[in-house]
Amino acid sequence: MVPTAYVLVLSAVLFTIGAVGVLVRRNALIIFMCVEMMLNAVNLSLVALSNQWGNLTGQIFVFIVMAVAAVEVAIGLAIVMAIVRHKDTTNVDEINLLKW
């Protein structure tokens, strides 16, 4: 069996890739996909830890996180759609009516 530590490292790497993506990418949809990647990195570590501790809390938590992520996709895409109707862009640098 794969040791828990390996899975946790993989999860941390995935989480970091997601976080860096959020910071450097300028397309709202790609930023959002990177957030999903961060959530799924956490899911991975929750499953591994659940296995490590021998209780199901982590597994249940994963289901809840997946449900929340699905809701977030629905709301997030609706908001991005509304922006696209106005501005025809998903580039967050061009969404700049409000500043300072």
């Binding site: 976080a19 830890l49 501790w53 809701v71 908001i79 009516l97 300072w100």
Partner: protein
């Protein structure tokens, strides 16, 4: 615990849940267009009933765990009652504002009721899963509300900025929760504390988990450096929603942060109080300095709202067990006073905005001649925001500042006082415009009756809390005693 007891303990949440669905249903069934009035009426009744239920439970001294995950104690009930009242005010104020701007009003009021439900769940949560769920539930309803004016580009921009920051902050907080679960094998706050103590908790892991959790809570409470969304979202969102985001939603962030840190991580108290002290100083300084150079009053209040998050945070940073200033009671009083003050200030901005279509300082010029009542109310709210007696804001500031002095955090107290002085400068600038700047505009500001009612309630509450402070102080102090005693 039998079902009936659970129903009694969760009565505020059940009322809110039912109200939310009834509001949507009524909106579907109505024949003629009443501009959402019936939906708003039901929402207000439901919110006030929920606030009453929470007050009744709180006054009867209830302290139990319902459904294994929700603490029905005075601390949670205080926030439930306060935020339900605050959201009821926002609903009333929305009636005149939203009617001409959106056609989908039933859902709007239902979402506000559901936001109250989300706050109720979050402030009660004794379980990290429910903490995460409650905060995300609140965030998701707030994203929709911030972007509710689909034809308004600014509202859309507010929503997309709020959403992208919120989703990221939520994921980071979740990672912190998974670390705590990994270290302890449990998600229950008390069990986490016990497991951390038993295992001689690793210092590094605790600090990392606290920082990651604070990203999530700090985002909700708009603490610097997690505040970047706040000015734009507050500026672009519909004004009643701005009032909601800057008060009730912010209160939820502080309430959850308080409970999680005190109950699950009391071992790390030195670490997180130091961290919170730094965050608090940053938050008030950045908020106030940027607010100084704003020319839009709505945006100025947005930055001032960030600065106030810093003052509120003083309460948690200066937590202690000594009477009478244990910090956390200051936090509660501050939030309660700030709720009425800030909703009131944003409502005046809303009245001006509806009258002149602008929320610039210039739109406030000569207000004392045109609408003396409105100008005097705005002055009162601004004095309360600045913390000048005899207003509610003074009581709040006094309690958090006194706690920092009592804990001997003198640098923190000095920074806070300097900030209070800076803040007074830009609040009084608005007063200067209202009283002394001449304008050609002569028409008095027409105020919708619903908005007028909200303004009056807020004015009365700001004065009542400021003058007869004792019952409110006693209420807040009793509300925190249990949480503090359980944590230390």
């Amino acid at each position: 615990m039998n079902a009936l007891t659970t129903v009694r303990l969760l009565l505020p949440e059940l009322i809110l849940l039912i109200t939310g669905f009834v509001v949507v249903g009524v909106d579907l069934l109505r024949r003629r267009n009443d501009e959402g009035r019936s939906a708003a009426f039901i929402a207000v009744v439901g919110l006030l009933l929920a606030a009453l239920a929470a007050l009744a439970l709180g006054l009867s001294g209830t302290a139990e765990i319902a459904a294994f995950t929700m603490a029905v104690d005075a601390y949670a009930l205080f926030f439930k009652a306060a935020t339900a009242i605050g959201i009821a005010l926002v609903v009333i104020a929305s009636v005149g504002y939203m009617a001409g701007r959106s056609r989908y009003l039933g859902e709007y009021y239902a979402l506000l009721v559901f936001a109250a439900l989300a706050i109720s769940l979050a402030v009660s949560a004794t379980n990290l899963v429910l903490v995460y769920l409650g905060i995300e539930f609140l965030s998701i309803t707030s994203y929709v509300l911030a972007g509710y004016l689909r034809e308004d580009k600014r509202s859309e921009e507010a929503a997309v900025k709020y959403f992208l920051y919120g989703a990221t902050a939520g994921a980071v907080m979740l990672y912190g929760i998974s670390l705590l679960y990994g270290a302890t094998g449990s998600v229950d706050l008390v069990a986490v504390d016990q497991a951390l103590q038993a295992s001689g908790s690793s210092w590094l892991l605790g600090i990392v988990a606290i920082i990651l959790l604070l990203v999530g809570f700090g985002f909700k409470a708009s603490l610097v450096p997690f505040h970047q969304w706040a000015p734009d979202t507050y500026d672009g969102a519909p004004t009643p929603i701005t009032a909601f985001l800057s008060t009730a939603s912010k209160a939820a962030g502080f309430a959850v942060a308080g409970r999680v840190l005190i109950t699950a991580l009391p071992d790390f108290i030195d670490a997180w109080t130091a961290l919170l002290a730094v965050l608090s100083m940053l938050t008030m300084s950045v908020g106030n300095l940027i607010a100084l150079r704003q020319t839009s009053v709505k945006r100025m209040l947005a930055y001032s709202s960030i600065a106030h998050a810093g003052y509120i945070l003083l309460g948690l940073a200066a937590i202690g067990v000594q009477e009478p200033f244990n910090g956390v009671n200051g936090l509660l009083i501050y939030i309660f006073a700030y709720l009425f003050t800030n909703v009131g200030a944003f409502m005046v901005v809303q009245a001006i905005e509806q009258h002149s279509g602008s929320n610039d300082l210039q739109a406030f010029a000569g207000l004392i001649k045109r609408s003396p009542g409105l100008a005097l109310m705005m002055t009162l709210f601004l004095l309360s925001l600045a913390g000048i007696p005899p207003t509610a804001g003074f009581i709040g500031k006094f309690y958090v500042f006194a706690a920092t002095v009592q804990q001997n955090l003198l640098v923190l107290a000095a920074v806070a006082v300097i900030n209070a002085v800076i803040a007074a400068a830009y609040y009084l600038n608005v007063v200067r415009y209202m009283f002394f700047i001449e304008t050609e505009e002569e028409k008095p500001v027409a105020i919708k009756p619903s908005l007028n009612a909200v303004l009056l309630i807020n004015t009365v509450m700001v004065l009542v809390i400021g003058i007869v402070a004792q019952p409110f102080i006693a209420w807040a102090s009793e509300s925190v005693n249990m949480v503090i005693a359980a944590g230390f």
